[in-house]
Symmetry: C2
Subunit: 228 residues, 2 copies
């Protein structure tokens, strides 16, 4: 096994509402070619900008509430809520960083659809079969700091399922189902620095399973949630 | 920026109690040299085995309880608890997979110390300054599937702290503190397949900050936990 490489995709300009993000990525990929089987990880922020998911930011709290179906906790300025997509995160992903003016950016309406559209666009423009992950930065219940996770997925299965397989000793790995989509998103974050404006990365050589999965599969249903 | 590479470290034999894991890694690194600044990620399982953290597994539940300071939830055979280290996970990390016979493996008593010892051993044997992460596979409150996270850290800061810095628009990135240690652990998991017996990986080119941090800093204190 030769390992995995993670490379920032340079050359994507500032993205504005209505921009064809797939075309911008295709141009950027001219100098860093994409290969079949690569995983392209794109920051939610630019996906949302291209889709026009920007509103005036003078009431960020109201925006977060309108993007939520259920508030789990409130603390000072922050809410932790379940978004319309089923994700649990701070302020429903409504974010004011890296946005021009007094605006805030909302999560894409359907990040899985965003990922599928980017994947189709790159297939059409470049003739490559890549997987696409739309990533965002989420906190965790019991661990400090944030990591990037997958909120949209296209062309891969979000999980590698070891349930029913056996380990090197022949024992059942019954509890293990790795969320490879989140590991890919977190790995790509390391080259998508918050302050550098880098908004996409190419992961090559990962054991991602091609498929038709969706990031909404990762959201734990409230009925299975012990901590909501 | 040239990006990040993640390479499995092959050639570590089956680890037994009392084995000098650092020496085994140093031998394996003969054919895949470690460089200053690399991050070596080692699976908890082999660290625990080398440290003799193996007990007869006929009462896994009792073992998990004895490794816990507080049980948060019980469901069927599983408990979710706070371990003696402060981590919240299933069954206190007590695991029966990839273990010979009717035994279970406990987490290291002090995984940060385990990481520091490995780091010192590799400095002594190979003359390299690497960071070391001891990783384990944890579930998440609101997301299905597991990812690898850092339970022990040596030679790096677990967080990249953007609080007080500004983004490309000059706005405060006040909420953002990336847990790079967990992103590194998750990235390395992708080459440490559950069924292949690969127990270590080398991450090169990551923006990890050299330092004297510890993984216990990642555990959210109960006083700051909204979901315990």
């Amino acid at each position: 096994m030769t390992g995995i490489s993670i490379t920032p995709l340079h050359g994507i300009p500032e993205v504005r509402p209505g921009d064809d993000l797939g075309a911008l990525i295709a141009v950027a990929a001219g100098s860093q070619p994409l290969d079949d089987g690569d995983v392209l990880v794109v920051a939610q922020k630019v996906v949302s900008k291209a889709e026009g998911r920007i509103i005036p930011g003078n009431d960020r709290r109201a925006a977060a509430l309108s993007e939520s179906v259920r508030v789990l906790r409130r603390q000072h300025e922050m809410i932790i809520s379940e978004t319309t997509h089923g994700f649990v995160c701070a302020n429903a992903g409504v974010d004011a960083s890296n946005v021009a003016g007094d605006n805030v950016v909302l999560l894409p309406l359907d990040p899985d659809l965003s990922a599928r559209r980017l994947r189709a666009k790159l297939r059409n423009l470049l003739g490559v079969e890549v997987a696409v992950i739309v990533s965002d930065t989420f906190g965790r219940a019991w661990r400090l700091g944030q990591t990037n996770v997958a909120i949209g997925v296209a062309g891969l299965e979000p999980f590698i399922d070891y349930r029913g397989t056996t380990d090197t000793e022949g024992r059942d790995l019954s509890a293990t189902r790795i969320c490879i989509a989140d590991e890919l998103a977190g790995a790509a974050e390391m080259v998508m620095g918050k302050t550098t404006g880098n908004c996409a990365a190419i992961v090559r050589g990962a054991p991602a399973i091609r498929g038709r999965g969706a990031a909404t599969e990762i959201a734990r249903p409230p009925s299975e949630d012990l901590f909501r």
